[in-house]
């Protein structure tokens, strides 16, 4: 299978069932809203070491936010519901409540919810005020510049994490350009995030390690510097560099749509092969076949 001159390997990305929540952060202007959004999604690249995966989904215009101010929608993913609540309380409490002028709203219309504002309200030390608008409860917590306003409950949804594809190139420039273009195109898809730095991973991992203490280690099959002597290297001869793009989404449809756009954008001269990471179908609940993504 090929897109342009790029080989598309007949394989699948193995994705996992996760829980997600959407958080709308607004601020007096884009400077403060973005500041809070970046802080809240910082150090949230992988469940393995960060306890959650988070990223900015979309930039929102004042017309699109509950309070008519500029904002960002954030997606946060965890493996279970209870830890999602904990991560939201930690991150909103430390990164949004602390940021000047910001407010924080539930972004999911979902039956299942976790109580976040209802926990953070205790920071108000008894001076907090609750308000209900259109059936939704909000908390006003007194802070140095006025009040921090937050939704009491945040909707959560069963979601999909770990959609992925690998870009294998014959040069650093081609491979980085392919990643840059793919991520830029995929960012237009709603309800997905690419949690790694600028959406790209260079340290793709495999399950387990020769060291018993580690649950994951470098996916040596895609490391070019050792392909000469590693028996199970998966890198073709003409390939000198490899990157991975990981996608978490609110549902399988969103992840698939983003992967399709990404793969078709990345394919070009110099990108020798595009493939995907999986665990033989033994770990993940979702299989996204690359053959179904070719336009």
């Amino acid at each position: 299978m090929r897109i342009k001159n790029t080989e598309i390997v007949d394989t699948y990305a193995e994705a996992f069932s996760m829980w997600s929540s959407k958080v709308i952060i607004t601020g007096e202007n884009d400077y403060w809203a973005l500041g809070a959004a970046r802080a809240m999604t910082g150090m949230a690249t992988s469940i393995i070491g960060c306890k959650c995966e988070a990223g900015i989904d979309l930039k929102l215009s004042p017309e699109e936010t509950p309070d008519g101010r500029p904002g960002y929608s954030i997606l946060v993913f965890t493996m279970d519901k209870e830890s999602l609540r904990t991560r939201l309380i930690e991150r909103i409490g430390q990164c949004v409540m602390t940021c000047p002028t910001t407010a924080c709203f539930n972004g999911f219309d979902s039956e299942e919810t976790v109580n976040v504002g209802g926990a953070l309200r205790y920071f108000g030390d008894g001076f907090q005020i609750s308000k209900k608008i259109n059936g939704n409860r909000f908390w006003r917590i007194p802070v140095f510049d006025g009040e921090f306003l937050i939704s009491e409950k945040f909707g959560i949804k069963k979601s999909v994490g770990g959609g992925n594809f690998y870009i294998l190139g014959n040069s650093s420039k081609v491979c980085l350009d392919a990643c840059y273009d793919a991520v830029k195109a995929m960012k237009k898809v709603e309800n997905i995030i690419m949690p790694f730095p600028k959406g790209v991973v260079r340290s793709g991992s495999k399950v387990g390690s020769k060291y018993k203490a580690l649950v994951a280690s470098t996916n040596h099959a895609y490391c070019p510097t050792i392909k000469g002597f590693v028996k199970d290297s998966a890198i073709p001869d003409s390939v000198h560099i490899c990157y991975e793009i990981v996608i978490d989404g609110v549902d399988e449809e969103a992840v698939t749509k983003a992967m399709k756009i990404g793969i078709n954008t990345a394919a070009r001269d110099g990108v020798i092969q595009i493939t995907a990471g999986n665990f033989g179908g033994k770990l993940g609940q979702y299989k996204i076949y690359l053959k179904d993504l070719i336009e």
Binding site: T26, P66, D67, G68, R69, A103, I129, S130, K131, K132, I133, N134, F138, R140, D145, G146, E147, L149
Partner: protein
Amino acid sequence: MKLKLHTLPDVPLEAEKITPAVINKLSIKEIENLKVFHGNRETNLADFFSVSKGSQDILEVEGDMHRIKYLGAKMSSGEMRINGDVGAHLASGMTGGHIIVNGNASDWIAPEMSGGFLHITGNGGHCIGSSYRGSAKGISGGEIIIEGSVKNELGHGMSNAIIVIGGNCGDFTGVNMNSGTILTFGEMGIRTGAGMKRGTIICINDLEILPTFTYNCEYAPVYLKLLFKYLKNKTKIKVSDNYINGFFHRWSGDAVEMNRGELLVYCH
């Protein structure tokens, strides 16, 4: 269904059966035979109203009903549209649903309301959303939007609900308020928020503030941006961008009670 008043009652008619839940499941004949009290005498609804097929989901009521009490009483769901003035106790004990009145309303509107949405395009009387005499608690939920002006004791002892008044308010607005929000766009009478424990009274115009309230600061509450945007989308009340983007003086009171209530007064 559609009900049209054909005979103005001499004394108040207690029509608590005129709600979507009761009317919409009956035939025209059954509706005409519904019993209502005209003063202290039981009579048929048909003696005052003509009944016809109307919209399937909406109950429409039409006529000068300033002597018809308890319209929409204990309403829990559905939609009711009233064209004309309405009498006292409209939406009494309402728990859900939607009532729109294209006209004026009398006194004691929505007593003991705990949910639902009431929208009056004209003016209202005294004690709207108030507790009954002898009761410490007024309405405990829902939303009341009145585009015109109201008289005294708006939201007496209210909790949790939102009341929005497009015009002026009389005296003792939010007296003994427990919680909830009153937003007023017109002039205020005297003793606003007297005895309030918690809750918020937002005033666009300057008002005489009781000496038992203390001044805190001038700020731009994000909560109000949310509320104003919600009202802009849901009602026809004109909300100026000046209010949405503006600053408000915050006063705390009433010190004779818990001192946890607030007056937010727009900074002109």
